[in-house]
């Protein structure tokens, strides 16, 4: 079981001037589990994701990937080490096709950048990875569409496909369900469930219905600190969580989602 801890954060803090956005947060991501991080806006969830991905250095604390201390690794190096991430605002290459979007990110692991003799489009390793990622993400029918013309839900799927093309073991997903309709949400939850066995997934999400359906473990953040961690049943029962968070947005999830 210990071998399956892919990413471990211990005592992570991140301060911006006088503001402590993340305050001594520890969590582990285990292969085969979806670990959801919930909390109100400004609770520090996105900052935490940025620190784990290496996009922001922590003010203190350590990050371990496969048991190795990667705190000082740059974001690209961590990505090559197996961390894939999506953003709250979808980041894709809108003018390229779905295939080229995935082929390009797949290339990150097989760079040989200065080989000018062979065209990128004929690079076997990255085209293979791209095809597989597109299939996994359920975009097979859209392979040759220009990414900018996809629907919102498909763009989010594409972003995950672009991560998968780099063959990550850890997925950090920042609000993958934001702005999605009911049907798109179902498709995305199906995708996450399918990815669960091979990956350790961190899910930052506001859709409580979805979180409680898919998460194996939930961490609740308030003002940068963790107030509770546990399985969904524990979290639902936890009185602190009730007062601090769940009670506050006690509305039907569908209405909580704004486009």
């Amino acid at each position: 079981m210990l071998d399956d801890i892919l990413l471990a954060a211990s005592n992570i803090s991140r301060r911006f001037g006088g503001l402590t956005a993340v305050d001594r947060v520890s969590l582990t991501l285990v292969r085969g589990e979806v670990h959801a991080v919930i909390g109100t806006n400004g609770a520090g969830k996105s900052t935490l994701v940025n620190v784990l991905a290496g996009e922001l250095p922590p003010s203190s604390g350590r990050v371990h990937l496969h048991g190795r201390d990667v705190t000082r690794w740059s974001q690209p190096r961590r990505a090559r080490g197996g961390i894939g991430r999506t953003y709250q605002r979808t980041t894709i290459f809108p003018r390229s096709t779905v295939f080229e979007n995935c082929r390009l990110t797949a290339q990150a692991n097989h760079q040989h950048a200065l080989n000018l003799r062979s065209a990128a489009a004929h690079c076997g390793e990255s085209t293979g990875l791209a095809d597989r990622a597109i299939e996994q993400a359920g975009l097979t029918g859209q392979t040759h569409r220009v990414a900018g013309t996809l629907s919102h839900g498909q763009k989010r799927q594409l972003e995950i496909a672009m991560c998968l093309a780099t063959a990550p073991q850890v997925l950090l997903l920042d609000e993958p369900l934001a702005g999605m309709g009911a049907e798109e949400t179902e498709r995305m939850l199906g995708l996450l469930a399918a990815l669960k066995p091979g990956h350790a997934i961190l899910l930052v999400e506001h859709d409580m219905d979805a979180v409680f359906r898919i998460a194996d473990r939930i961490t609740v953040m308030v003002n940068g600190t963790v107030i509770a961690t546990g399985d969904p049943v524990d979290i639902r029962r936890n009185a602190d969580v009730q007062t601090a968070y769940l009670g506050e947005i006690d509305v039907p999830p569908a209405a909580a989602i704004t486009a």
Partner: protein, 331 residues
Amino acid sequence: MRINAALSNALPLAAACALLAVFPFVGGKFYVDLMVTTMILGIFALSLELLVGRTGLVSFGHAAFFGIAAYATALLSPQADAASIAWLLPAVLAIATLAALAVGALSLRTRGIYFIMVTLAFAQMAYFVFHDMKFAGGSDGRYLYVKPVLAIGRVTLIDLDRPLTFYYVTFAALVLVYALLAAVGRARFGHALAGIKANEQRMRAAGFSTYPYKLAAFGLAGALAGVAGFLYAVKDGFVNPEILAWHQSGTVLLMLILGGIGTLRGAVVGAFLFVVLKELFQSEALFGGLARHWQLPLGLTIIACVALMPNGVTGLPAQLRSLRTAVPHAG
């Protein structure tokens, strides 16, 4: 469909090459000379296109590498006999590349407007080095007395002093630089640069260390600007600090904007168009006394071009097509 697209790409290129190949036999001496200048500027514009169009790095100091290469050509050439191209050209390109890597290493740590300003500042530093240092001839510049040759033993293969030879060497350089950049564009390196332009955050998240990519592009662009600088110095046999002044950096950016940013064709067409417009407005036969103030009509024309053709001259067909589809009954 695909064959059609390939043909419509290749045909204008082949036609342009054929025209350039026969031009010395049909054009007058003045126009052949002007065409050489245009091709040199075309190489210069192509080198900047790699940064601006491909990688999204708007450098406002690209003339520095053009000028450094031109000065290196003049300063390294012996006064009394001809230098050999075999060592002079590699040496000049190495100097231009190293200068670009040094400037790139520092300026690529900034972004956007700061990048524009930092590259401009470095180019101005280079300008004042050549302007104020005795060894480079100060503001008077420096002459290159004997043009370089390529010889094996006593057999001279290429003598750049002969105008026709120089024309074809420049033409070959243009074709080679174009072909190299086309190969870069198709290769993984070029795709990564395009990704950096489109979304650097995503590239880093995917695992690309984007800084070395950008630095390599900057170095390559400097080397190719060096090719243009070498040819420029040899052509005129004279260099002065003006060739690395800020308006030279601005001129080459204007060429890209005129021709259309994002394609290799655009860079070459832009250089050609710029030279034609400049010659036109400088012509006293056409504009009389106004010809002395050629910058004014040239500037107005460029403003009009940018306003009417946001994607440059090479983007015009696509622009017209989209207009026609937007208004189905117009034609």
